[in-house]
């Protein structure tokens, strides 16, 4: 279990540093003139997402390589497709509410944006609840991080994803607080867009994880 703790800690550091970059650059409200004509904060976010993709690809590849090395009934056979499916719909819905919040602020509807951000937070927490339930069931069946190859690869992969969801939830809560304090307006909502990009990326990773863990 200590390994999971370390992994989550590492995940938090990544999240913190990104948030720091966002915060620091947030100070300069106006979009500075750049050589590309684009906002470099957003470009940095995309570069970060690309690097995260590579990181998750390594974890997924590891999972795929070791898949099938654990007897079915001690590994994949213990997973519950119903819980995972429900979680998939929850996370897809949270992407919708997130994008709706961005659209709301673009249309100068700040209250509506906050409502959608709150909905996204609730859905994100619901996903984490589903994952906690799934983990509980597996632990009950005696599968943990150090039981077998399935346990090791499954918990590392989904644990990293789950910690990304948790970071995303914290990020969105910070956006809500910032919005309530008046820090977000229709002219200055890049922070919502960046938070959204991160959140959709986490959803995107789950779309792939759902297939490789629960479907194929």
């Amino acid at each position: 279990m200590s390994a999971v703790g370390k992994l989550e800690q590492a995940g938090h550091h990544v999240g913190e540093s990104v948030e720091q970059v966002v915060d620091e650059t947030h100070a300069q409200v106006a979009h500075a003139e750049t050589t590309t004509g684009l906002d470099h904060r957003k470009l940095v976010m995309w570069v970060f997402i690309a690097s995260e993709t590579i990181f998750f690809a390594a974890l997924m590849a590891t999972y795929l390589v070791y898949r099938g090395k654990t007897p079915y009934e001690e590994g994949v056979g213990l997973l519950d497709l119903n819980v995972a499916s429900l979680n998939t719909f929850i996370l897809l819905a949270s992407s919708l509410t997130m994008v709706m919040s961005l659209q709301a602020i673009e249309n100068k509807k700040k209250g509506r944006m906050i409502v959608f951000l709150i909905l996204t937070t609730i859905l994100g927490l619901a996903f984490l609840g589903g994952q906690a339930y799934e983990y509980g069931k597996l632990l009950q069946e005696g599968i943990s991080l150090d039981t077998n190859l399935f346990g090791a690869t499954f918990f590392v992969l989904t644990g990293f994803h789950g910690s990304h969801v948790a970071i995303g939830v914290l990020w969105i809560i910070m956006l809500i607080i910032r919005a309530l304090r008046g820090g977000i307006s229709e002219h200055n909502h890049l922070s919502v867009e960046l938070g959204g990009l991160y959140w959709h990326f986490v959803d995107l990773v789950w779309v792939v994880l759902f297939t490789i863990i629960y479907l194929i």
Binding site: G37, R67, G68, L92, Q103
Partner: protein, 254 residues
């Protein structure tokens, strides 16, 4: 001097204008993507994936490898919907796509492929070897465990001296998760025979079976196992005397 002249020229270009960011937003707004429509499409694609897995997990005992490309295709479609619409890449500057695309195509994808090719061969061999050993003739043979459909659940009630229901059916290689609820006043178990019924009609006397779940009086026991090769088997309570008294059920593997 030439450089000095070149710079002011480029700043006049519309896409270098600081207002370009605003223009870009206007473009996204103008495009007005139907986000709810995208969500419905994502939900439908997910439902199709789940449908494929739960309905067609094993057709006539054949391998389910064939469904993998379909599932991967659906996944790619879902991923693209998220990237293009929710993450706005369809409407944004191509530079973002280049950064992200480069990450995926130049690093992530080759790495996944390399991992699988570098680390898989021994694994593939062992699966083939197993299939050859336990193979039932030259046909399909047992499929790799990873391609068997989702496990089935069998919730049985046990008491003095019966199982309810007293019949269970599964596909060869399929995972079966047993929950035995003991409503009786003594301990009961759920065990399955190792050999088909025709070869060993009383596994409780030959002791040739394995206990899957164990439930003390008034509580519930859980366990799981993988269905063996096709045939008629027995499940029974392995507490001495219970099977003889009637705690027996039939277990059919297709």
């Amino acid at each position: 001097m030439e450089h000095g002249q070149a710079i002011p020229q480029t700043t006049i270009e519309p896409h270098r204008d600081p207002g370009d960011f605003v223009a870009e937003e206007a473009r996204i707004k103008k495009a007005k993507p139907n986000y709810i429509g995208v969500f419905i499409l994502l939900a439908i694609l997910t439902a199709i994936e789940i449908g494929i897995v739960s309905l067609f997990h094993k057709e006539n005992g054949n391998s389910t490898v064939g469904r993998v490309p379909i599932l991967l295709g659906l996944t790619v479609a879902k991923g693209l919907l998220v990237i293009l619409y929710y993450m706005h890449l369809k409407f944004d500057s191509r530079l973002y796509s280049i950064f992200f695309g480069a990450g995926v195509l130049a690093f992530a994808l080759p790495m996944v492929i390399a991992f699988i090719f570098l680390m898989s061969p021994p694994q593939l061999h062992s699966v083939r070897a197993e299939a050859g050993e336990g193979g039932t003739g030259g046909e399909q043979g047992p499929t790799a465990p990873s391609f068997v459909g989702p496990p089935i659940t069998f919730d049985a009630e046990g008491g003095e001296f019966y199982f309810k229901p007293d019949a269970l059916a599964a596909q060869a290689g399929q995972g079966v998760r047993v929950t035995l609820t003991n409503v009786g006043s003594v301990e009961h178990t759920f065990a399955i025979s190792n050999k088909p019924k025709s070869e060993d009609p009383t596994p409780w006397t030959t002791n040739d079976g394995k206990e899957i779940a164990h439930a003390p009086a008034g509580s519930t026991g859980k366990g799981s196992f993988k269905a063996p090769t096709p045939g008629e088997y027995l499940f029974y309570c392995d507490v001495p005397g219970h099977a003889q008294a009637g705690m027996v059920g039939t277990f059919t593997v297709q």
